[in-house]
């Protein structure tokens, strides 16, 4: 009993600092349809791009388009409250889109294998993020 009272007193006396990390862990930003749509765009464009790796010009245009969506998603997610857990994977996805765009800008001819593997990995990464954020709680209608 004494230990229990001591534990409760410790929590009460130290305010919310002890339990705050626990609360933060489970307070998650609600489902955001714009964020979800942007991730879906990246996934879809990467999927289409992977099918056009025979055509350098088309894949280059897809790379540019992915970079635009990547930066748009990164900026959009940045200031959504309680969205820390999404920011990190989104930044990594953004970095992938930067890399592919840079590659097409600096290299005259990009290998077909690179094209296929790169777009496939962007598509799969976007799908992982989409799956996670799609499960987020929907805003309450009440």
């Amino acid at each position: 009993m004494r230990i229990f009272i001591a534990a409760i007193s410790f929590v009460l006396l130290s305010g919310c600092t002890v339990i705050q990390p626990f609360i933060d862990k489970f307070t998650i930003a609600q489902f955001d349809e714009n964020e979800y749509a942007l991730v879906n765009k990246i996934r879809t464009v990467a999927d289409l791009a992977g099918q056009r790796c025979d055509d350098q010009l088309t894949s280059k245009l897809y790379a540019k388009s992915l970079y635009h969506y990547g930066i748009e998603l990164k900026n959009y997610s940045q200031y959504i409250p309680k969205n820390e857990q999404t920011k990190k994977p989104v930044e990594l996805l953004y970095k992938m889109t930067v890399d592919v765009n840079d590659r097409y800008n600096k290299q005259e001819t990009v290998s077909k294998t690179y094209c296929e593997l790169k777009y496939k990995s962007i598509q799969q990464s976007a799908e992982m993020i989409q799956k996670a954020i799609g499960n987020r709680p929907r805003p309450s209608v009440w």
Binding site: F26, Q85, P137
Partner: protein, 71 residues
Amino acid sequence: MIATEFHVLALQADQLVSEYKEGKLTADEYKELVQNMNMMQAISQDTANLEENIVYRNMIVNAINIATALA
């Protein structure tokens, strides 16, 4: 990381190494794709953590709702 994602990553890593050995990638492209695999692994871990937290959060909310309804 869930098993399916791990399997996808493992397959992709295998493909990457074999294609490089066959000379279908430049050294620079290969290096970038290896970094890419690491990023994918990190994304997989982060999203798995997020999904786990969503599950716990939903359990807590459900428990609170049930307790409120009973009160």
